[in-house]
Symmetry: C2
Amino acid sequence: MNEFGADFESVLAELKKASSKDYHFADGRILGSMCTKPIDIAIKAHAMFLEANLGNPGLYPGTVEIENELIFWISKLLHGDGASGFTVGGGTEANITALWIAKKVSGGTEVIFPKSAHHSLQKAADILGLKAIEVGLTDNLQLELSEVESKLSKNTAAVVAMAGTTEFGVIDPIEELGELCSDTILHVDAAFGGFVIPFLKDLGHTLPSFDFEIANVDFISTDPHKMGMATIPAGVLLIRDAKHLKKIAVSSPYLTDPRQASLAGTRCSAGAVSAWAAMKFLGREGYRNIVKDCMDTTEYMARRVREIGLDIAMEPIMNIVCINMKAPEKVQFELGKLNWKVSLTREPKCLRIVVMPHVTRKVVDEFMPDLEKVCKGLKEI
Amino acid sequence: MNEFGADFESVLAELKKASSKDYHFADGRILGSMCTKPIDIAIKAHAMFLEANLGNPGLYPGTVEIENELIFWISKLLHGDGASGFTVGGGTEANITALWIAKKVSGGTEVIFPKSAHHSLQKAADILGLKAIEVGLTDNLQLELSEVESKLSKNTAAVVAMAGTTEFGVIDPIEELGELCSDTILHVDAAFGGFVIPFLKDLGHTLPSFDFEIANVDFISTDPHKMGMATIPAGVLLIRDAKHLKKIAVSSPYLTDPRQASLAGTRCSAGAVSAWAAMKFLGREGYRNIVKDCMDTTEYMARRVREIGLDIAMEPIMNIVCINMKAPEKVQFELGKLNWKVSLTREPKCLRIVVMPHVTRKVVDEFMPDLEKVCKGLKEI
């Protein structure tokens, strides 16, 4: 920082320069992110509620009403009418908070989750001082139920299931897990799937139950800033039994509420309002159409990938295409030189494309020749 | 959520209705918040970087450059040229992260902080499974050094000091603490003071050292979304020794960076960019002028408070006025009916006014007659 400031226009010019170095969803080159360009009403809502801070709710009764309605809607979407919950900064904060509550409620010292879990579960276990017990996967990349069964004990604070997995979009066998977890807290990480699976079911896809429909599911996290078309930061943690939430409340004397039950203090609330606006504007039909478009493009991409002689790791369940590769990191690097930003999976090793709404059929048509060229050069084809 | 969506204009109308129920800084009725209306360039910058996600830095090289420069500037402001660090959602996340690192680095199981610490320290201890050891305060509301000395042990993960305290704006004796903490991690919570104390010193106020100037200070947290004039969420955690940061890194395979060393996963970065824009636009002189205005108004308010026969708890060190009351919660309630949002302190029990930039002399002039009337009615005067 200089002694003297700069004028508005020159700061703006520097901001524009910095922004021009970033990738933007609208350019259609980001193929490996689970975020996308928020819809216009979400952006507008965000800008209107920039000051709001749900960490100090007495000042923001209008924002509180919006958050409550958002929680009500998402609970209902996930078959949990009347569930409790609140908005958070994203899936990681939701998972840490879920395991924090689980630790307080259960007194347990261990958490069981699949090898396919989002890396935030490792992080959460480390922060909370819980022993992380990773269970293996079946051939179709679902968590291995028998391993969970053998590892459940009086020390278990929680079991975590994915709906779906970050890498492949696989839905764990949560109904069966629920039967195992009659005395154990079961948390479902639906960061991505929460705004996909319900609409895929509407579209006639045969998919298993994953949400509060299953009696023993206790908590669900889902991120409106992924497939919910909202702005960052918009995550949600839902808790079936409100009394569990009270376990993490601490005294907050100088704020408008005497107790605060959230990981964050000051809570950026613009993302939460944007999520409300997106849901209000789109309705269930709007999301269904978005998910349909994404799945159509996903299937189109899978077909094109096969046509050039590559294999996909599995038939896409959600809008993620994972392409088998011997050395996907090399392909990723070469595609990067052509300004394509793709991502990777660990096991099996694949090139991973998340077919978000900004990844249109036109984008796929532009991408495929480059993918083919790079893969031929690297002898992947 | 309905089956069908609503049109843009009707969603907008509902958003406006909700916003009208909230308090807004510009109306000058929020007297108890440590946030304020961000400056225009900060709001503009926020809107331009709504998509950016520093949790996936390979997609946002322009935003990464901005974050790096922001960290460089704030480190320099706090006498820590070359310190490491990153932006976070706010002071609570910064404090949890600081103690998480301290726990990993030290292997300790206890954290020592003053009774005057922000409630996020209790929260952090609870999340991390650290035993919270609260130390008492001297008559001038600073942490009691002798108590820290007697409680330091091989189990201590960290000592936390306030610069200044959330309630009274008191700066703990950090230089002396530094001498006690030659083998212990010392974290300074300067969420509020980081953007106040350096400028008060510029203005000739005699204030003690509190930052990296003190050799044994290891971490500092400060919030640009408080007196930094930035948008929420903009917090910063600075770490003198970069190797400490690596202790919390976890593998993040499907992102653009293979390891992630932060509590959050997806990181709303619009607030960070807004902080950069505010610092660039204001320069040191700009902040000095803002702090000068706030302190002038603080002194004006203190004088007016005394003129109506009330006492203040202490001569204001920063821009906070704490008014002694027998029953401040009753006064707060009555003022609330007149649409004034004030806050409280615990010990001593006071009515607390944070004289943020939106609390102008004109606001004080409007507030004082109402304060006098309410206090007379409740026999506080």
